[in-house]
């Protein structure tokens, strides 16, 4: 039985053909993945199915019936539910309130909280999605918040569940949990549409996979009959070298050192304890670990957002006395943050303004406090070319760029600031393969130039591929040091969970 069919869907935006004659046919009780690079048209297609966009032309059939979906309300009535990439939750409301909002059980005009709580307990038991109905959503980890989202659409009777890049915000463990949930839901008769650009995940959980590229459907394949390489080729349109080329560079002098660094995070908890390491010229030092084991404390201290409560930081061989971002940067630090939207770019600003931030107060970009537009524009034009930023239009606002392009703008800015040390925190988070490849290439080039790189990442494959040495953070301390050639992902995994230690020689 077909759960959902779309026929000849075309969606035209001014200047862009986002969906070009798409035909899909999705069976009931299957996990159907839709993959494609950022900007390939996945999200547009899903928004059409969910009633947030109206297609320029084309037809949609739900359980064999031709339908018109003009709003999310229509979609809900047709038993289509969507877990958005950015959660549609109200942090200050309880789990129960979030789930029942819009369809509240009532006693007269009053909201019947007791019945609501009971109902939530029932469905959460039925689908094995454990939640505390009375807890406020703002106090929950992201993985559980996502569970609340899933419960919300299940309670509304959704039979077709759309997941828009659901793992982008999850830790690996949370992602595992989600996959179990998805399989369970499929086995109990629900239809799952899974949007992603992470091929590994797609290969783990899908039954069938549709590949989009530049708004066009490239093909639909059974998971058993394909592999990551083929998918990547279909997605990008050429062979993609996911393997990171080895770059042998002679390790040089120590550029950055950290000694006995101890950091208290904003919640007042000591998140990083007595951490010491060196990063050398021409070396990429990888920091592995499960999220929340001290990475953000380490990064915040290194960039100067938080003053450490103990220990010291040496940049370019000199101890930094006053730790703040300005001083860190003055001493040669470039910073690639994990959250480019909040920490990296000023989204309402144009590309040209974003690429000079941080140098805006220096010549030639400004003189006596007055910006020199000519210099800024010619600089931006050069960078847009050099980093292959598309569109080439330097007046485009950062907010209107895809994730990969935003990351390129960020790299263009950071790498043009005078630096000998790069602090890269999950530099490929949320990026598609093409953009990932680009980031890797840039980091390796920097390394060859003799720059010291500290790479903090949750992706083991990334660390294994790029790093020359690996430190594993567990509960705020370095639990071990190793090298990619001397370890395996399994061993690293055990270390990350604190189940294995490795002595360090410093």
């Amino acid at each position: 039985m077909k759960a959902l069919e779309v026929k000849n869907i075309i969606k035209r935006f001014p200047g862009v053909l986002a969906n070009d004659n798409i035909n899909l046919s999705i069976n009931k009780s299957e996990i159907y993945s839709i993959v494609g690079e950022n900007g390939a048209g996945k999200s547009t297609l899903m928004k059409i199915i969910y009633g947030l966009y109206t297609p320029t032309s084309g037809e949609i059939y739900v359980f064999g019936k031709k339908v018109k979906i003009n709003s999310s309300n229509d979609a809900i009535k047709l038993k289509i539910g969507m877990v958005h990439q950015e959660f549609m939750l109200i942090p200050r409301f309880s789990v129960t309130e979030n789930i029942v909002l819009g369809h509240e059980p009532r006693k007269g005009m009053f909201f019947d909280r007791k019945v609501a709580v009971k109902e939530i307990k029932e469905i959460s038991d039925r689908y094995g999605l454990k939640v505390d109905p009375l807890e406020k959503v703002e106090n929950l980890p992201v993985g559980i918040q996502q569970r609340v989202e899933i419960l919300k659409i299940l309670r509304r009777g959704a039979e077709i569940l759309i997941f828009d890049e659901p793992t982008a915000v999850l830790t690996p463990e949370e992602a595992e949990d989600l996959f179990k949930t998805l399989s369970f839901l499929r086995d109990s008769g629900k239809t799952i549409i899974f949007i992603s650009h992470k091929l590994k995940e797609v290969m783990t959980i899908s039954d069938r996979i549709a590949v989009l590229r530049r708004g066009e459907l490239q093909g639909v394949v059974y998971k058993e009959k394909t592999n990551e390489k083929e998918l990547a080729r279909m997605m990008v349109g050429r062979d993609v070298v996911l393997e990171i080329p080895e770059a042998l560079v002679k390790r040089g002098d120590t550029i950055t050192s950290v000694r006995n660094l101890t950091v208290k995070n904003k919640r007042g908890i000591v998140g990083l304890k007595d951490v010491s390491f060196d990063v050398h010229s021409g070396e990429i030092l990888g920091i592995a670990g499960v999220e929340g084991n001290g990475q953000s404390e380490l990064i915040d201290a290194l960039i100067g957002f938080i003053k450490p409560i103990g220990g010291s930081i040496f940049l370019s061989g000199k101890k930094v006395k006053l730790i703040n971002p300005r001083n860190m940067r003055k001493r040669g630090m470039a910073y690639i943050p994990e959250d480019r939207k909040r920490r990296g770019l000023i989204l309402p600003f144009k590309i040209k303004d974003n690429v000079i931030m941080g140098q805006h107060n220096k010549r030639p970009f400004s003189r006596n406090g007055i910006l020199n537009d000519m210099a800024i524009e010619s600089f931006a034009e050069k960078k847009v070319e050099e980093f292959d930023i598309r569109p080439r239009d330097i007046y485009t606002k950062a907010a209107n760029l895809s994730g990969g392009t935003q990351q390129k703008v960020l790299l263009a800015r950071e790498l043009s600031i005078n630096h000998n040390f790069i602090l890269a925190s999950q530099p490929t988070r949320g990026l598609d393969i093409g953009a990932m490849e680009f980031v890797y290439k840039m980091l390796i080039e920097e390394k060859k130039r003799g720059v010291a790189v500290l790479l903090v990442s949750l992706e083991l494959s990334e660390i294994m591929g790029l790093a020359d040495r690996i430190l594993v953070l567990y509960e705020g301390v370095i639990i071990g040091e190793t090298k990619p050639g001397e370890t395996s992902e399994e061993e690293l995994g055990l270390m990350m969970l604190g189940l294995k230690k490795k002595e360090r020689v410093m």
Binding site: I76, M88, L89, P91, R92, F93, E97, G102, R106, F110
Partner: protein, 316 residues
């Protein structure tokens, strides 16, 4: 006057002063819980204070005045909603415009209708002895005696606070209002009529503010003076923030600000003997100084609804 009757009369006076502030604060509470900042409350109070007096003047009864005031509250509230909800306009700009407009229009109407500048002739009002709610049996009890001789508007402010609390935190409507103020996009995806809720909240809030204006001109006084609402709408907004956007919080804050007003009066009397040197202006400024002080103390901790003041546009 013995001590007890001084206590009771001071408390009763405090409530009298508090009522207009509380009405404005409650207007702010409902509107901002739905995500619309309404600094036009001040102007709406002025409009209603005048229209209430006008209605009472024409009809000879404050009840008709009350009706006129409510109607003008709805009209001005709709204007604010039209600009800020329908067109997602800037809420502060719209509010400022309405406040400025109230200055000009009402001053003009005052001259046009009553041929006076400064104040209207006296009209029948809720504060007159016949119109007050007399609860004689409470009269000699400490504290409760303060409730023995209130105007209907003060009683209404008290009742409205309780009702608002139940509506906001116990009813489906309240849950939806708050959801719209916290995350209108989420509310929209759940099929909640975001624009409808915002319109409703802004207009209800404006009606409350209208009551506040009339608590001045038909409750405390029996005429309109051109200085009205004299910043009471803004103090109401301060009370709303101080009360953390909740009805009971707003009530407590309004009472605090009003008591500063009463204490100020008492101080003036008490100090006339030994502190003649202190200028009158200092006493008059006291409640406002207290307002600022209270806000400095609390504002860091007060948390507004997450989408408060953010114009909402639907995805297309």
């Amino acid at each position: 006057m013995n001590n007890m009757s001084l206590l009771n009369s001071s408390l009763s006076q405090t409530m009298d002063y508090a009522a207009p502030i509380l009405f404005a604060a409650l207007g702010g509470v409902i509107s901002e819980n739905a995500g619309v900042v309404n600094i036009a409350l001040e102007g709406i109070m002025r409009f209603a204070a005048f229209f209430g007096v006008w209605g009472a003047f024409v009809s000879g009864t404050p009840w008709i005045g009350l009706l006129w005031g409510i109607v003008i509250g709805i009209v001005i509230g709709s204007l604010h909603a039209y600009i800020t909800v329908k067109w997602a306009g800037d809420q502060i700009v719209s509010g400022v415009a309405i406040n400025v407009m109230s200055m000009g229009i009402i001053t003009y109407l005052l001259e046009l209708i009553f041929k006076t500048t400064g104040y209207s002739p006296p009209v029948p009002y809720f504060g007159s002895s016949v119109n007050r709610i007399h609860l004689v049996f409470l009269k000699d009890i400490p504290f409760l005696g303060a409730f023995s001789n209130l105007t209907i508007l003060v009683w209404f402010a008290i009742i409205l606070t309780v009702v608002m609390h139940f509506v906001l935190y116990r009813t489906v409507l309240g849950l939806r209002i708050r959801s719209v103020g916290e995350n209108p996009h989420a509310a929209e995806t759940l099929g909640i009529n975001v624009a409808g809720i915002k319109w409703f909240a802004v207009i209800m809030g404006s009606i409350f503010a209208a009551f506040g204006g009339m608590a001045l001109s038909l409750g405390t006084l029996s005429s309109f003076t051109n200085a009205m609402a004299n910043g009471k709408g803004f103090i109401g907004l301060a009370a709303m923030i101080f009360g953390k956007w909740t009805p009971f919080g707003a009530m407590a804050a309004s009472l605090l600000f009003a008591s500063a007003q009463v204490i100020q009066l008492l101080l003036q009397v008490a100090a006339s003997g030994f502190a003649k040197g202190i200028p009158l202006g200092f006493y008059l400024a006291l409640p406002y100084i207290l307002t600022i002080g209270a806000l400095i103390g609390v504002v860091g901790r007060a948390v507004a609804p997450a989408a408060d003041g953010v114009p909402y546009k639907k995805e297309s």
